[in-house]
Amino acid sequence: MGSPSLLAVSSQLLPAREQMAFTLGFHIVLASMGVAFPAITLLANYRGLRRGDETALTLAQRWSKVMAVLFAVGAVTGTVLSFEFGLLWPGLMKRYGEMFGIGFAIEGLFFFTEAIFIAIYIYGWKRLRPWPHFWTGVPAVIAGIGGALSVVSANSWLNQPAGFKAAADGHVISVQPLDVIFNRATPYEVPHMVLAAYMVAGFLIASVYAVGMLRGRHDRYHRLGFLIPFTVAAIATPLQLFVGDTAARAIAKDQPVKFAAMEYVQSTQTHAPEYLGGIYHNGKVTGGIRIPGLDSLLVGFSTDTKVTGWNSVAPKDRPPSPTLLHLAFDAMVGIGSLLLLLGAWLAFSWWRRRELPRTIWFLRAAAVAGVGAVVALECGWIVTEVGRQPWTVYRLLRTENAVTGATGIWFSLAVVLVLYTALGVATVIALRAMARRWREGDAEDDEVPYGPPAGALP
């Protein structure tokens, strides 16, 4: 052992993980928009048609144009992930592609459906009759949710692999597809992500209009543009906290070492304390608030509940950096709780006065809620993915055995970093340019490819 080839493999492990993390972290924001934005747009569209509300129709039409851009960028960044499974993780695909791929195959169907109907919806505003046009958007909403369900079930399979028999050498000899799709982690991981998508899309879109109102644009257009997505997100948030709480308890059982790192549980114990914040170093937690017994209480509804510590497995089987996992977990839960309060604030004000809260602080909070939801989403993925390390397939395949033997991943990582940064900046600039044109009133400027002077068009 210790041969050069082994060294070569491990030298690619870090950049490969970084590239996967970065491209997935980028795509997941766009994917969330792809899952939830059509529903939010259709709500505005429905209101517009039902009540003859021109403002709502304008919002729906403009949102569908934004959606077109985000959906396109999301489609290509999602394709990159499919390539990366082969480029970065051939060891995973070779051994477990026949299970890992089943969810993706079903997702392919949903994505197909969504791509087709979203195109009809986006380009059908002018020539389709209003209600049929509305209904062409509905399959996209259903397909968005279905796609998220199936692709996240593939991820949950990595956390709780099931549904197959392997020979002594690890070669898979038989597969039970339904058990692969409905593995132990599916019931909590899948709804967690769908709700996250609705929260991210809702708070993010609403934050745009919150900023507009902070800049003095207190018209009905901005109020409605804020209220529709915000309401969707505010309804998803309490459900999300319930699902997330259930998920954490399930992880304590299904992946105890991941949970131990999330909660700083070093050795198996009853009356385990809960840490809010804090940094772990050399066996000690510094900073943060320590609440005795609370972790046990949260896991089993009693302080006598025994919580497994990470000392229960050998150091090489523990995830790296408990601090990263713990702080990411705390940040996700903390932001989620704040968003719950924000939603409750609006609900209270609406119940009393049918109006947004009067203080400017509500709008300020709503303006950062969008970014907050995105941060919480990223933290959640850090917890689930980094927390599973050193395993790619939990307890079956170590990440160092999944990674490619190809060299030069540092280079491809650098290219990806530059390209995606440029892509993110270009997307934001393009969306802002659209918004500016809409504000300046030439709402229906024709979208022509680059180059042609106005008169030359046929």
Partner: protein, 330 residues
Amino acid sequence: MSTVVAVELWLGVTLYAVLGGADFGAGFWDLVAGGAERGARPRALIDRAISPVWEANHVWLIFILVVLWTGFPAAFAAIGSTLFVPLALAALGIVLRGSGFALRHVAGSLGVRRVLGAAFALSSVLTPLFMGTVVGAVASGRVPANGSGDRLTSWCNGMSLLVGVLSVATCAYVAATFLIADARRAGDAELERYFRRRAIGAAVVAGALAAAGLVVLHDDARYVYHGLTSGALGLVIVSAVCGAGAVAMLLRGDAVWARPLAVGAVVAVVWGWGVAQRPYLLPTSLKIDAGAAPHATLVALVIVLGVAVLVIGPAMALLFTLHQRSVLDD
């Protein structure tokens, strides 16, 4: 069952080659349309032609990748390992093509649109080029089942590069025959002639490259060459006849028949390749049945195909019909 899934995979490849290929080819014609003023009209037509459909067409690529890695995991891992470079470059091209196209619609200034448009057009050429080298590498047996093929010479060689260039030419050819019909629908006789000339040119180039490919295959890829000249000979002939017929129709000015004939030529080549390398998935190291996933996974993939035929088929037909009736105009 593994053969059924291999056929499913090839169906995906065929649809992507024709539909996705036409979108890439449209990008090629955008690239060579000349300066802003001169290229304005063809570019506007290209833009209208592919805007509502390119994403749906692109999904066939994802279909191919997923069926390959689920149905034939070992082949996917081997291709990913050996052909890391062209696949990474193709992925890069896909990002630039899609985002460049989507963003140039909405970007503010002319300068930004130009840069984004250039990214779209250039990557529309480079992506099929690199994908073609992947096909060339697989067909010429340069991807061994254990994935240990040379990371550079497996795709950077005369044979693979020739297939790369051939795929660019084929995309351009199919796209031009499609764009003739789009120009006719737009009532633009001049653009119709414009794309007819280009379709003929691209057809001649693609035909010459395909013929050259056969010669190179003879020296370089004996297994597939043998297959093409025996079991798949019929398909090779069909492809040649369709290709020649399409050119004849184009010369006569009959665009209605040129299109199915052009498509037929491409379809016959794709299936000729598949039949020629039977029973291998990776000639000559991995056979289809040896590299296949367990039975239940294959059944799941066939069910997915069945659902696709029942659901995606009609949906796609609706999209194309609406598009061709100019209902999906912005």
